[in-house]
Amino acid sequence: MNLRHIWIVFSKEVKDIVRDKKTIITSIVIPMVIIPLLSILAGGSVRNMQQDIEQNVTIGLTRESNTEDIRALIKEDIIADYPNIKLVDVEDPIEAINNSEVRILLDVEKDYKEKLEQGKPFVIEILYDKSQTKSEGSIYIMSDAINEFNKRVVSERLNKLGIDDEILRPVEIKEKNIIDDGKAGLSLLAMILPFLLVILISAGGIAPATDLVAGEKERNTFEPLLTTKAGRSSLLIGKYLTVTLFSFVSAITSFLGMILGYVIDPKSMTMGTEAYVSGFSISGTALFMILTISILMGMTFAGIQIALSTYAKSFREAQTYMSFLLIIITIPGYSTILMQPNEIPLFMYVVPVLNTISAFKTVLGVNINYTYLAIALASSVVYVIVSLKIAISLFNRESVLFRS
């Protein structure tokens, strides 16, 4: 291996890629523009829907329940304190749900008045359409109004009997969040960020890795390269470092895109959860370790991608392998998305990909376990060595290099 040759290959490949408008657009421009744009659009629409569900609850009555008394019960006794719930008069109640004229229908027992007077329970049936998000989402708001009505009636009945309604509340539940709001915001990040990071870093290396070996073979630039004084390992390492660099360029631009989206519209970027990510601090050691682990994961992917590109007979074949790789990587990402930092078992810190996800979740969690981080770091180093060895071995194997 010759460092000068590695540098020559690396600088040539970087120059070549930087001049490729397609690569620049896909790895720098698109993440910087598309990610904030999509997040704002998607987050904005989720937020709008939530607001709409909460603010504009339209309800109707079934034909049997559409009487003056019941209308009065609903309007004056149940939803009077709920300006967001509106009783709508409809001709065909079921049709009204289907065409979204109302979100839910109420069917109140005919003899509700007698039962109410006798102190017996009566039934209000809520009819909704499960296929409509807004219809299903309105149930809890309506239920809340009915529960309030229940409480009020119970309270009145007890007062008539001279009993304080406190008797019905032997225990009062109080909730207190023990971590600061910044950390609460981080727990949301701990779900999404590691998954995104893994996908973005692996996706960023795909285009250069495909081009740098399979592409060279296809363009007939590969054989002249092999007859220069540069050894194969030097050629491979130069290309490998290029892929690693562009994996990170793509990941960094994607993150910048997310930050940009957050700056423009924080609420939309957090899907309306209003979680915020300011005011937290991560220790320097943890930050260093997680950055190192991320870089090592990028290097591992670069090794695998270069190996796949070397094995592929053509550009197209290489692209197919890369797509499979991306799908495989997505599986651990998805399967751990809801896992919280304190729930991560030890073995996950030594499994490829999962070790990086776990390390990230740990750092973004409440208590950082440095032993676990060290395990993730050590296993990452091992995977870099293994993937690079595989790539070098394939690159030096005639049967692979000249596979046709």
Binding site: R19, R219, T227, T228, K229, E398
Partner: protein, 243 residues
């Protein structure tokens, strides 16, 4: 300058090149004549150290292809047929310089050589343009320059005229002659009788990985009593196929 001894290459159970031996003198053009799949490319790939011989070896400018591959590579230049194999997004100058750098040449030396070759091949006008924007003929000249940027003693040409039009073929032939004039030793593979006859000092006919005949074209014509190299080739290859 080139000494090939019992060069053999097996891929699994298939023997692509079987105990091929020949010698090429300095400044000589040696033609490897054979049908597609005869073993010409595999032989040249072994001489270029891209493939390791299963048996036998070859000395290139005094260096062994098996034990001193890097030294061999510093002495050879290659030009393979088909696509010219340039980096489209690099300029012609950058394409050539890249190979000079990888052959351990200094920047000044590279610039000097590029200047000389740009003039010799008439590339001065487009030497700073990106290779992807050039015509096929222009690209070919860049590929010539790239192959000899490090001034190799030996040139290996593997079917360099394959798929080219008449004027491009002429350019390749002229380039081979220039290499000879510059004192380079040349191994040239082809399946086109006429160009082999026109360019080569000596030829070897290869069939199914076996070298079936070698010598000067005139000597072969006398030996086989025919004025037509194609007839001689078919007779030798036919004999080889029957056996």
């Amino acid at each position: 300058m080139i000494k090939v001894e019992n060069l053999t290459k097996r891929f699994g159970t298939f023997t692509a090149v079987n105990k091929v031996s020949f010698e090429v003198e300095k400044g000589e053009i040696f033609g490897l004549l054979g049908e597609n799949g005869a073993g010409k490319t595999t032989t040249l790939r072994m001489l270029a150290t891209m493939l390791k011989p299963t048996e036998g070896t070859a000395l290139m400018a005094g260096f062994d292809v098996v034990s001193e591959p890097e030294k061999v590579r510093s002495k050879i230049g290659i030009l393979f047929g088909g696509e010219t194999g340039l980096y489209d997004r690099l300029t012609c100058e950058e394409n050539i310089a890249y190979f000079g750098q990888l052959n351990d040449m200094g920047r000044d030396e590279i610039d000097k050589r590029i200047k000389i070759m740009a003039k010799a091949f008439g590339m001065e006008e487009y030497i700073k343009r990106r290779a992807g924007k050039l015509s096929k003929g222009m690209k070919q000249k860049v590929a010539f320059a790239r192959a000899i940027i490090h001034d190799p003693d030996i040139m290996l040409f593997d079917e360099p005229t394959s798929g080219l039009d008449v004027s491009a073929i002429k350019d390749v032939h002229d380039f081979i002659r220039t290499c000879k004039t510059d004192g380079k030793t040349i191994v040239f593979s082809s399946h086109t009788m006429s160009e082999v006859e026109k360019l080569c000092d000596r030829i070897a006919i290869i069939n199914k990985g076996v070298l079936v005949e070698k010598g000067k074209v005139e000597d072969l014509k006398n030996k086989y009593g025919s004025d037509n190299l194609e007839d001689i080739f078919l007779r030798l290859v036919g004999e080889g196929n029957e056996s």
